[in-house]
Symmetry: C2
Subunit: 180 residues, 2 copies
Amino acid sequence: MKFCSLCATPVVQKIPEGDSRLRYVCPGCGEIHYQNPNIVAGTIPVYENKILLCKRAIEPRKGFWTLPAGFMENQETTTEAAVRETWEEALARVKLGTLYTLFNIPQIDQVHLFFLATIKDGQYGVGEESLETRLFSESEIPWDEISFPTVKKTLQYFIEDRSNQEFPLRVEDIVRDRKT
Amino acid sequence: MKFCSLCATPVVQKIPEGDSRLRYVCPGCGEIHYQNPNIVAGTIPVYENKILLCKRAIEPRKGFWTLPAGFMENQETTTEAAVRETWEEALARVKLGTLYTLFNIPQIDQVHLFFLATIKDGQYGVGEESLETRLFSESEIPWDEISFPTVKKTLQYFIEDRSNQEFPLRVEDIVRDRKT
């Protein structure tokens, strides 16, 4: 951030009064420009014991397989975001279950949420951000070609928990180097 | 948003290629300025069967009682945010339990998370954003002076669940009028 988005004055970094963190502050209009983590929401879409994965058509990790997920938008709920992303990436309408995994990834300022889901009528397709979508049985999952750690861990937990049909919420941190 | 925060050119609202939503886009440098929901994280700090509430020293809802909670910061986890806010508002060090409530509030672009927590050593104080902090037994909770719906609902659920000592995750939408 270089300029105030309200008045175009060059911003400065300072700790506002009563705060303890460096913020981008506008010396012109006084606006404090807070920056906060984003939520990524997605699903584990299941049909007849198989899991729907999408081969990514876009960077990052183009060509790798992912669970449908993406950035939550303003004016929607986490569940709406998960359902929407499943439609956009895999053209699948899902019946949502409970929240299943929550990953904190502080070094990239993201929180990832995955919900249990079943595909209505077994219908799916290839959305604009996907090269291919496919239902995988457990033994077919391409473990070496999974896009992101949170997707891999969600799949691993899911397969583990499926054996006894209990899916408790899993909260986990994926921490590498953080900015100071 | 009126100006590009990278190059100070006046932004326009348009739907970028491959997107389906209006975004602030810079006609100068091409940057798309996404805007996404924020996470508020907090705790239900308990000591000897009593719940710690904070009387707010700042707007909104100054003078009303709240559970300690606030905006999650970049480079931290949801649990770190909840612990930090409890320290800042109530000078209480807590041992965190599981995630207990998740509220979607789409009309204000927020997701609220509250974690179970116990106060270490029963020590607490009055943080900068609080006028007063106090441990309340169930019968003492000032229901008519609670700051926010998510705090009230979290307290109601907690008291209900405490009777059988099971605290399943509660996910709930608080939806009023949304922007189109």
